[in-house]
């Protein structure tokens, strides 16, 4: 295939196509090399995450030391079972390994839940939403200076809370939401990004995280106790403690593990009881450190029991990022990552005519509104864009993706044909590829890499998913 992703789109092939549950490709595979098929939303997710099992498992790309965590737990428990259990079963009770095994299973399952669950990621604002918010900001802000204030104040339980505008996600962050720079996502009720579990800890997986550290405390305490009992029994029956220590392999790391985990559990128990997040505690948002008077936590129920129950036993919120859904091919710019092909829309509209009113409305509603948004603000944010490229501002999916347009612009400027109308860049984008692919197979792959990095500059309704490749956030190029 000598075409970039955009080039591969064949209207005839797509017009009769309905989204079938095709197998999603592995995240690391370059999409430009594959036939176009219905893609699931996890494949075009803009954050720095990795997905497995068809989008069911989500981890941060910065997996941190998760393998080390699992390794430490396995090794510690393994040593316990091998060296302590036989002795203790003989001298004490057979329940020792049973309890140890049960705790170990609980710890591992909690850890995997924490690591593989969506922490409460907020999907990024759609272009129309972002444009609407921009318009509101500009209307409310002073026209005499730039930029207009990007904070909004709300009153929560008689407490003034400032909501900040997230420039990446193009929305005002809800209260207690923070943008994780490692995962490049806004996470609801953001606690912290934990390298030990390789994921953010937020609204949806905080209870798993808490269960993990508490059960790990119990496990390490249990092993610590069993080891101490083992040594004591050996010392009693044998020639003293020193000999007992020499007989069994040294397991001093247990003590440091135990105290650090215990400390962490204690800290998080305090946070749960006061309905605070680590982020808020560190910043001192509600402790009055900032000097303001009477700042109290507006989210607390002022009862330890209610706080604990609401956080740990409250209803499980759903995942908002809809990983399993299919990327709607007939929509223009639902999210900044939606792939859009103009011939596709034309073909789809023909099919839509035959449907009922509701279907027509629903399909059409996903088209971008041509009058919303502030075209000037969007276009001027990309001064380097190829001026010959006519881009419908309302259709620009993500102003932050403008840099990738500049890549495309620069890419096009290297071609020989003058890009004097929007269609032409598209065309000699193709020609450019065809020329390059004639050279060799390796340069063909290079062309695909390049093409996948430069978005199509045809003023189609929005940019393709390649803009994310341009940001390097999702596709790992070999």
């Amino acid at each position: 295939m000598n075409n970039c992703e955009y080039q591969q789109i064949d209207p005839q092939a797509l017009s009769g196509r309905t989204p079938t549950p095709a197998l999603p490709p592995p995240p690391a595979v370059i999409r430009g090399e594959e036939r176009l098929k219905a893609r699931k939303k996890w494949e075009v997710f803009p954050g720095k995450n990795r997905f497995y099992c068809g989008g069911r498992i989500i981890v941060s790309r910065q997996s941190g030391v998760l393998p080390l965590t699992i390794g430490l737990i396995l090794v510690t428990t393994g040593l316990f079972f091998v060296f302590d259990c036989p002795f203790l079963v003989k001298h004490l009770t057979v329940f020792i390994p049973a309890i140890g095994g049960g705790l170990f299973v609980f710890v591992v399952i909690s850890l995997l839940h924490t690591s593989f669950t969506d922490p409460g990621i907020l999907p990024r604002a759609t272009p129309d939403e972002a444009a609407d918010i921009e318009r509101q900001i500009d209307n409310s802000g002073s026209s005499s200076y730039r930029p207009p204030p990007r904070t909004k104040e709300v009153m929560i339980n008689q407490q003034v809370v400032k909501l900040k505008y997230c420039f990446t996600c193009k929305m005002f962050r809800p209260p207690r939401t923070s943008h994780c720079s490692l995962c490049d996502n806004c996470v609801e009720r953001f606690d912290h990004h934990c390298p030990w579990v390789g994921n953010c800890v937020g609204k949806r997986n905080y209870r798993f995280f808490y269960t993990f550290i508490v059960s790990l405390s119990f496990l390490t305490a249990f092993i610590f106790g069993c080891v101490a009992t083992h040594l004591a029994l050996r010392a009693q029956g044998g020639r003293g403690l020193m000999f007992a220590l020499q007989e069994s392999p040294a397991r001093y790391p247990f003590t440091t593990e135990f105290w650090s985990i215990l400390g962490l559990s204690g800290f998080h128990t305090y946070l749960v009881a006061s309905n605070l997040t680590t982020n808020e505690d560190i910043k001192g948002s509600w402790s009055g450190k900032s000097g303001s008077e009477d700042t109290s936590n507006p989210y607390s129920y002022n009862s330890i029991i209610t706080n604990c129950c609401s956080i740990l036993c409250g209803p499980m919120p759903p995942s908002l990022i809809d990983r399993q859904g299919f990327v709607p091919v007939e929509t223009a710019t639902q999210t900044s990552s939606t792939e859009m092909e103009v011939p596709m829309l034309a073909a789809k509209e023909t099919n839509v005519c035959a449907q009922g009113t509701i279907d027509l409305l629903e399909t059409a509603s996903r088209s971008p509104c041509p009058q919303t948004g502030k075209p000037q603000a969007v276009v001027t944010s990309c001064p380097d864009a190829n001026p010959a490229v006519t881009i419908n501002p309302a259709l620009i999916s993500d102003p932050a993706a403008m840099p990738s347009l500049t890549c495309g612009g620069r890419h096009l400027s290297h071609t020989t044909s003058p890009p004097d109308e929007p269609r032409q860049p598209h065309q000699h984008h193709n020609r450019h590829h065809k020329t390059r692919t004639k050279k060799s197979h390796s340069s063909k792959r290079a062309a695909l890499h390049v093409s996948s990095l430069s978005p199509p500059t045809s003023p189609g309704p929005g940019l393709t998913g390649t803009q994310h490749q341009g940001r390097g956030s999702f596709i790992a190029l070999p």
Binding site: P123, D128, P174, L345, E362, Q371, T372
Partner: protein, 145 residues
């Protein structure tokens, strides 16, 4: 250029006049609640009381989903005891209410809003951030018939 013109023609045919966004109301905390203030763009389209009733019902449904009470505690404790493995096989209370909300929105669209040239989008499709109301030009309804 041809593609841009084609798209704009289609948009005129589809006639999405504008979109109105109802933002979240955080006065009661982080619970899911939408502002019930009647947007000015809808004044000529829909009855204020009808709209507010829709929003109140929607807010009540979300409150039901997020209600902290005996049932949710039971679900939470059971999940904790099974190391949260029941979430793999059981639909949570929140998910059940979300389905109810989806049915409610579909029903409201069919009965009330579509005849007026409006379309409500389920907030879950927008990450529970906004209620998106798409306003269509009147001629788009003729186009569909």
């Amino acid at each position: 250029m041809a593609e841009t013109h084609a798209l704009q023609d289609l948009q005129h045919q589809a006639a999405v006049a504008s979109k109105v966004y109802i933002q979240r109301d955080y006065n009661s905390g982080t619970i899911c609640k939408f502002q019930t203030k009647f947007p000015s763009e809808l004044e000529s389209r829909v009855d204020k009381q009808q709209f507010e009733e829709t929003m109140h019902t929607l807010n009540n449904l979300y409150a039901e989903a997020e209600k902290i009470g005996g049932k949710s505690y039971l679900e939470g404790c059971l999940a904790c005891m099974t190391a949260y493995t029941i979430f793999l096989c059981m639909e949570t209370h929140y998910e059940k209410v979300l389905k109810k909300i989806a049915r409610f929105i579909k029903e409201q669209n069919e009965k009330i809003y579509a005849p007026l040239g409006l379309l409500l989008t389920d907030p879950i499709e927008r990450g529970l951030r906004v209620v998106e109301i798409t306003i269509f030009e009147d001629r788009s309804i003729g186009f569909g018939r």
